[in-house]
Amino acid sequence: MTLHAAAHPTHVDPRLSRYDPLARVIYFDDFDCGLSGWTTLVGNYENSIDTMTRSYARHMQPMLSQITHWDSGTHGAFDGTYALKIATRAVPGERNTAIKRVTFRKASKIRVETYFAFKPEANELKLSDLDVRSVGLLFDLQDGQQRVMPHLRYLNALDGQRMNRWQFKQHSSPFRAIGSRSETVTHDHLSPNDWEDIPDAGQNLCYNEIPTKINWHYLRFDFDLATMRWLEFQCNDRTFACPGVNSITIAAMPNLACMLNLVFFCESDTAKRSFFYLDSVLLSGEF
C-alpha cells in the first residue's frame, strides 16, 4: 500500500522523503510557507450570526506557531520554524478546528499524511499529560448519492482518565434548520457524543516529560472515495485496518458536489488551552 519514495519521480523534493504520497499530490502544505488555505470552521447562519450553533461560533482561527515556551524558548517545527497551531480556549470540553476546502476531480483512493504534536498550555509546572482530551481529523465528502464524514480522533484523556486510543464516529446529532428560507441547516458532527472505539486501536504516544517538550508523530489516513469506505490508518509504527469502521453518512445535499474538505481538530479535557500542532499536511490521490 505504501510506496517507497524512490518509486515516484516527483519525490525530488527532500521534504517529501518522510512522506508516502500516492501517485498524485493534491496539496502539500508546509506551514513554513504560510497558512496555505487553512482557516477556521465556522457554523452556518442566516440573517443573523446569532443563528450559528454556539460550539461552532466559538471556533477560532488557526495560527502559525514557532512553538515558543517560557522555559526553553523556541522549539520550532519538524522542519523550518513554523507549524500550524489549533488552540482551544481554556474551558473543559472546548474544541477548535482548522479546515481546508477543495473538491475532487476523481473518486479515487485518497491519503492524508501529517506530522503532528499536541500539548496543553504550559501554565503549570507539572506533567499535564491528561489536559488534552483529543486530537483528530475528519473528511467532509460528497458524491452523487451521499455526504460522508469519516471522523478519526486520538482520545488522550476523558474526564481526567487516561484513554490513549483511537476512535471513530458513525452517528451525528440531528440536523437543525437555520433561518426561515429553508436553505440552510446545521448539525454538530463534532459534538462530544457518539464516539466509538476502533477495535484494537489502543496506542501510547510520545508525550515526553514536561509540557514544553514536544515530539512529532506521523499520521496517515487512507480512504476510498469510490466506495466511500475507510481503508486503514497509521500512526508512527502502528497500522490499523478498519474493516468494520464506518462514517457519518447522510443524503447528498444540494450545494456540495464533489466536496473534499479536510478538518483537523483538538479538544481540551480541562480548563487549560490545548494546542494541536501540524508541521505539514500532504493530501494525495490515486489518479
Partner: protein, 119 residues
C-alpha cells in the same frame, strides 16, 4: 516564508461575541508578521444609553510566552454604537498579540474583532 509575495492573513478574534466587563481576546501567535492591524466592529449594543456617543478603550497587549501580558501602548477607541468601527496598528510585537477591553458595568457590545497581519 514565501520568497516572492508577502504573506498576509486575517484572523477573526471575536465572531459576534458579546463583550461585557473585563475581556481579553484569545492569544494569537504572529511572530511571522511584521505588522498588524486590529479592527473592532460593533454589531449592536445593549444597555448603552449612558454610553451613547462615547467610546470604550481596547488596549493591545503583547506577551513573551502567550501567558503573561503587558500593554503594548496602542489603544483604540471603540465607538459604543451600532456599526461603530475602530482600528489600531502595531509592529515589533514579538510572538503574541491580544486585545484587552474594559466594558463599563451595565453595558455590553456585540462585536467582530479581526487581526490583519502582513509579513
Amino acid at each position: 516564508m514565501g520568497t516572492l509575495m508577502r504573506n498576509a492573513y486575517t484572523a477573526v478574534l471575536a465572531r459576534g461575541e458579546w463583550w461585557e466587563g473585563s475581556v481579553q481576546t484569545e492569544p494569537y501567535e504572529a511572530a511571522w508578521a511584521a505588522q498588524a492591524l486590529f479592527f473592532v466592529r460593533v454589531l449592536q449594543t445593549d444597555g448603552t444609553t449612558a454610553l451613547d456617543a462615547t467610546t470604550i478603550q481596547a488596549r493591545v497587549q503583547i506577551s513573551p510566552d502567550g501567558m503573561h501580558w503587558a500593554d503594548e501602548g496602542s489603544v483604540m477607541q471603540v465607538p459604543a454604537q451600532t456599526d461603530g468601527l475602530a482600528f489600531t496598528r502595531v509592529s515589533e510585537f514579538g510572538g503574541w498579540l491580544r486585545l484587552a477591553v474594559e466594558v463599563p458595568a451595565g453595558t455590553r457590545l456585540q462585536v467582530v474583532a479581526t487581526l490583519a497581519l502582513k509579513a
